[in-house]
Amino acid sequence: MGARTAAPAPAGGVLLYAEAALPGAAIGLVAGSFGAVTAALAGLGAGLTGAIAAGMGAPLALLGGVYGVLVGRGVVAPGAIGPAALFWVVAFPAARLAEEAFVAAALGHGAVLREPLLSFLLFQAMLSLGFAIGFLWLHERLAPRWFHRIRSRNPVAAALSAHYAPPPGRPPRG
């Protein structure tokens, strides 16, 4: 059950990969808009709520989708923590930096960061491990169902679905 080798793109490639990458994108969106949903609950203005949602949700959704594509291409082994942690140690700080810049621009703040860039990136990179595990936990729970559902029309999903076919658990009945 190791890493699959990188596969050549099947016919109709990009859309197929995009469809298989939807769970990752959805998890990124939910994670990014976590603050925005509660901002609405807290009665904040639509402007700030929208800025938080867009600033954090869009980059994390995009990067979650990229992770899904990498899994579909066989670059990243499905369910493996190491590659996911490596991916997010770069992607999570990048998403946070984009969010800080977007919110500062939207609210008209002069300073983008509260601390030096290096400290900021280091801090985000360290927290990215927690994000990576949470992301992967959700992805492993949601993605196999999605792959199974679309496997008849999507060969990328079909290959991934086959990968998940023998889950942990009981032996075949004798």
């Binding site: 059950m1 998890i27 939910v30 994670a31 990014g32 976590f34 603050g35 509660t38 901002a39 609950l41 807290a42 904040l44 938080i52 954090m56 082994a77 369910g79 493996a80 923590i81 999570f92 946070r96 509260r114 601390e115 400290s119 900021f120 280091l122 801090f123 985000q124 360290m126 927290l127 990215s128 491990l129 927690g130 994000f131 595990i133 949470g134 992301f135 992967l136 936990w137 959700l138 492993e140 729970r141 076919a165 023998p166 889950p167 942990p168 658990g169 009981r170 032996p171 075949p172 009945r173 004798g174």
Partner: protein, 539 residues
């Protein structure tokens, strides 16, 4: 003493492998479970001349005799799944373990004593990871719960846990804490949320076809959101300095300020160590979840069904099973299962518990930086006021959303703990009742499970509506003493069960035994030292 063929006629489960690989096909030849011949049952009775240290040979069927209860038939050990897939019963321990200790008690200690105090948290969680591995050893080798193992050694031990579970866990304190946080966000009275939540849990578990599968799915989503959410929020409000001091503080081994040993703080620190990760009997229930997941020999035991599907409940065998430890191929598979559970224990349980508590500590440090008054409120120790203060600090800093998020996390933790505890308690009590209460086998396990589940719910509603009205914190604090005592007791039981009832090749090594022995001394010693030296229980 029925020992039906639990495999035949069992409906296919979503969990079951459908692989066509040759290894799996070989596994398909797992012999069916049969009722042991009468003479074999008799030979397992007390006083039999069973050879120690290896499976007993019999013409038709082989058995492993452990203690004074019915011997375990030898069956094939299923092949272990790959460890990279992060799905498994660890989710229950994380759901139960990441609670008030991680979100409130340890952040509070960090604000009072500094991040260096976190080395004690490291010790507490690491001990719990070792306990988890040893609990799994018995459950995966036999398919029996640790309660059954305790009964094999000395039946009153099992009854002690049966009674302790009722004494400690019928109180709905764990639920009221999360509901109070939800009240801060929505304004809905916490009693209403708690009662509605309990009824909802009861109905959902009653309608579920297989309770384990439903609960693993729900808890996995909740835990995933909690981990992702706390990481995102900590990333937004914390700083590198907060995180660096939190992490380096974990390795300040031996740091113990004088005030920490005072009558005011020592019991709190002992309680916080007990609350680091799963506390009380939660580790014992983990053995039941491993079994329902089909881990190791648990694959030969049917899963517990919801009451609505009680008619489909397969008969539960009257004891577990053992694999042939003299077969090198079987021992190879056993090593695979140990790798699987070690991955669960060390990376997922230990790692996620650490990450969540680090995130919450960063949040607490950020709130104290934003509003220094928070430290004083937290030092005073009133939990609700402290949580208010931490949330208020975020709000005052121009991010009212973060105060709301903080309360939502607390509510989510409460929901996870409630789901996990209601299931675990009912599962454990039903298991002990089915096997050891005379006449209980006339009911199926799913009916006994429903009986304890609804008993817990109705009692909880009664307490919330008519019980003492001095708030949820009071209920939680009273439980701490019993929780700590149960932890020391189960460490002793674990040593006895794993060293006396398992075949020699799969018994724990000297290091594991030493660590579990240390854990027993640690929990019981600190508990009684606190009691006799200061005259106070842990809190």
């Amino acid at each position: 003493m029925d020992s039906p063929d639990v495999e035949s006629g069992r409906p296919a489960k979503r969990d079951e492998p459908v692989s066509t690989d040759p290894e799996a096909a070989r596994e398909a030849s797992v012999p069916r479970q049969r009722r042991p011949p009468a003479q074999e049952q008799a030979s397992g009775a007390p006083g039999s001349e069973a050879p120690a240290g290896g499976p007993a040979e019999a013409p038709a069927e082989r058995f492993w005799r452990a203690g004074r209860l019915e011997p375990m038939p030898i069956r094939k050990l299923p092949k272990a799944p790959p460890s990279i897939h992060i799905l498994g019963p660890t989710v229950f321990l994380v759901a139960l373990g990441v609670g008030m200790g991680e979100s409130y008690m340890w952040p509070r200690l960090v604000l009072v004593f500094g991040p260096e105090i976190r080395w004690l948290f490291l010790i507490g969680v690491t001990l719990q990871a070792v306990v988890m591995l040893e609990m799994a050893r018995y459950a995966m080798a036999t398919g029996e719960s640790i309660f059954f193992g305790a009964a094999r050694v000395f039946k009153p031990l099992m009854w002690f846990f049966f009674i302790t579970a009722i004494a400690v866990y019928i109180w709905p304190g764990h639920l009221s804490a999360g509901a109070s946080a939800f009240e801060r966000v929505t304004g809905i009275p916490w009693q209403a949320t708690a009662v509605a939540g309990m009824l909802l849990v009861g109905v959902v578990f009653t309608l579920a076809k297989v309770v384990y599968n439903l609960l693993e799915n729900v808890l996995s989503i909740c835990i995933g959101l909690l981990v992702v959410g706390t990481a995102v929020v900590a990333a937004m409000v914390g700083s590198f300095a907060d995180l660096a001091s939190t992490v380096t503080g974990m390795f300040a081994i031996g740091y113990m300020p004088e005030e920490a040993l005072s009558p005011a703080w020592f019991p709190i620190i002992v309680g916080s160590i007990a609350f680091a990760g799963p506390s009380g009997m939660q580790q014992m229930w983990y053995t039941l979840h491993l079994r329902d997941k089909g881990a190791g020999m648990g694959a030969h035991i049917p899963q517990v069904r919801g009451l609505r599907h009680a008619g489909e409940q397969e008969s539960m065998p009257s004891r577990g099973f053992m694999f042939d430890t003299s077969d090198s191929a079987e021992m190879g598979k056993w090593k695979g299962w140990r790798r699987w559970v070690a991955f669960d224990a060390l990376l997922l349980f230990w790692g996620i518990t650490m990450l969540v508590t680090i995130s919450f500590t960063v949040l607490a440090q950020a709130s104290a930086r934003l509003d220094p008054g928070v430290t004083e409120v937290i030092r005073d120790g009133e939990r609700d006021a402290a949580l208010d203060a931490m949330a208020g600090a975020f709000s005052a800093a121009g991010s009212p959303v973060l105060g709301t998020v903080f309360f939502l996390f607390i509510a989510l933790i409460g929901l996870n703990a409630t789901l996990g505890l209601f299931d675990s308690f009912s599962r454990g009590q039903a298991d002990m009742t089915y096997h050891f209460v005379p006449g209980a086998k006339r009911f199926s396990v799913s009916k006994l499970y429903a009986f304890f589940l609804w008993g817990l719910i109705l009692f909880g509603i009664g307490v919330l509506l008519f019980g003492p009205a001095d708030g949820p914190a009071a209920i939680l604090d009273v439980l701490a003493f019993l929780s700590t005592f149960a932890m020391g007791a189960y460490c002793v039981v674990l040593l006895l069960v794993n060293n006396l009832t398992l075949p020699k090749p799969i018994r724990p090594g000297i290091v594991s035994n030493a660590l579990i022995g240390f854990a027993a001394l640690f929990y019981l010693g600190a508990l009684f030292y606190s009691l006799f030296a200061f005259g106070v229980v842990v809190s």
